[in-house]
């Protein structure tokens, strides 16, 4: 039995990405986003009783916890998956470090039809770090029309080659996913070191 979110042996780590992605594809409902006003911001909210966000969080952590074993399936999904899976892949790859193929992230940032995928691909390019991508980012910026994606390109430029703090990845891998949504009125406030 493979327990998503629990301790992961080396053998289970190899199986975890497929299990996490299958759970996400089965339980995430994209149609549950509800429009919430069209003023200064175009905002969409999940319903208050939504469970999808916790499905997403568990998948995200399991994929990061599985480490290198997640890279290939996520790159494949980024290139060919449905939009919600491509967003999850783009969002997660930045947590998987220097072995992630930057060219695949650049391709997604340049040509994915969904701006959310492009935005997270740009974020992940910055998070992987270690390489001067200023020319590539300038090219992306020149071609990009979406203002949010353009803002995130600027953030990636600002950070230069500084990748994601390894402690952030370690904290996510070590976090106990059973603590999801445990902050309840009248109960103890979850604490963090």
């Amino acid at each position: 039995m493979l327990l998503i979110g629990g301790p992961v042996s080396a053998q289970d780590a190899a199986k975890a990405p497929a299990a996490a992605l299958a759970e996400f594809s089965r339980d995430w409902r994209e149609a549950d986003w509800q429009p919430s006003g069209q003023g200064r911001f175009t905002v969409y909210m999940r319903p208050l009783d939504d469970q999808g966000w916790s499905v997403r969080m568990r998948a995200f952590q399991s994929l990061v916890k599985a480490g290198d074993a997640s890279i290939e399936p996520l790159l494949k999904l980024l290139a060919t998956g449905p939009a919600p899976e491509r967003i999850l892949a783009a969002q997660t790859l930045g947590f998987l470090g220097m072995k992630v193929d930057r060219q695949a992230l650049l391709d997604a940032a340049r040509s994915d039809p969904d701006p959310a995928v492009r935005l997270h691909a740009v974020d992940s390019l910055g998070m992987v770090g270690g390489t001067d991508l200023s020319e590539e980012l300038a090219t992306l910026d020149a071609a990009e029309k979406d203002r949010d994606v353009k803002r995130h390109i600027a953030y990636a430029v600002d950070r230069k080659e500084s990748g994601l703090d390894p402690q952030t990845v370690a904290d996510l891998r070590d976090w106990d996913a059973r603590k999801i949504d445990t902050a309840k009125l009248g109960g103890p406030a979850p604490d963090f070191e």
Binding site: G37, M45, G52, T182, K184, L185, G186, P190, F192
Partner: protein, 109 residues
């Protein structure tokens, strides 16, 4: 904002913000809003791995344009570490007024 912060501090409270971005992006967002880091007079904690946000039940629940963020939410925690007030917003601007928070703080006395 500074005046409201002073009222919160006089009521014995400390305000903490949790932002689901890396500090690079958080500073950029402030800049895009016409603010600098020095303009924020309370600790703004960065939670890019979403572990605080998920533990408090607010991660991945709002999209502004195409960007994912946390559901706006407010928690009041008393000095014994017990959660005494929770407000989970149903829209971007669905947040308690400072006066409502101050009322809650007074009830803790």
């Amino acid at each position: 904002m500074r005046g409201k912060l002073k009222s919160l501090e006089e009521a014995g409270a400390q305000l903490l913000g949790v932002d689901p971005h890396e500090s690079w992006a958080a500073r950029g967002l402030l800049k895009d809003s016409g603010l600098a880091a020095d303009d924020v007079h309370f600790p703004l904690l960065s939670d890019p791995a979403q572990i605080v946000s998920a533990t408090y039940g607010v991660a991945f629940q709002m999209r502004i344009h195409v960007e994912w963020s946390n559901r706006p939410a407010t928690f009041v925690i008393d000095q014994q570490g017990i959660i005494r007030y929770v407000k989970r917003g149903t829209a971007f601007n669905d947040r308690p007024k400072p006066e409502e928070i101050l009322d809650e703080l007074r009830r803790l006395d």
